[in-house]
Amino acid sequence: MNDHVRIQLEDFSQDEEISALKSTSKSMGGIGTFLGCARDFSEGREVSQLSFDAYGSMALSEMNKLRREAIAKFGLLDARIVHRIGTVKSGDNIVFIAAGAEHRLAALEACRWMIDELKQRVPIWKKEITPQGDLWVTQHP
């Protein structure tokens, strides 16, 4: 739980992540977060579950790089990234990104940058499990 960057099967708590993030600095005035969840529909198809596969060691290393780059680029005080793998059902949490800075603009921009970059850089693949069959997602939504 104390690692800033994690890939895990189990769910996470925003309260715990934010509390760990805040503990690194009392100068943190703004925290931006992004939480990605499993939707029940995707392009008209009903989706009951999502299943994630990852190149674990490389994904973790890319997520750590991403965090360090975001801290440098936006002058963050700290940042955290958690991504779940395995199977999640509709409504469940998938990914959590938090960026803490002295002021809100850096925190919010960093948060958006990190989720955009994560989707492009981190070797994780998503399969939609639908009543009509399973489908690996190959485009960025």
């Binding site: 596969d53 190149y55 490389m58 991504h83 989720i115 998503k126 485009q139």
Partner: protein, 79 residues
Amino acid sequence: MINVLFFGPVAERIGKSALSADYRPNMRIHDLNDELAAQYPQAFELVCFTAINGEHIRDMSTILPDNSEVAYMAKFSGG
């Protein structure tokens, strides 16, 4: 020996998530690509990224060290 890894949609089309390829001195990554793409054309049409030992490789003339871990990866869809 080269340890080749597949994930997600590529692994599904190949029917396994890893295989071993013989190592030859001065072997380049494009040599391995060509061999495997010929053997698994449907899987390799999905491949967008190649990594050696967890690092993205763009130069396909890169020489493969022995005992490398090579990953052939489809477009990512995490998050």
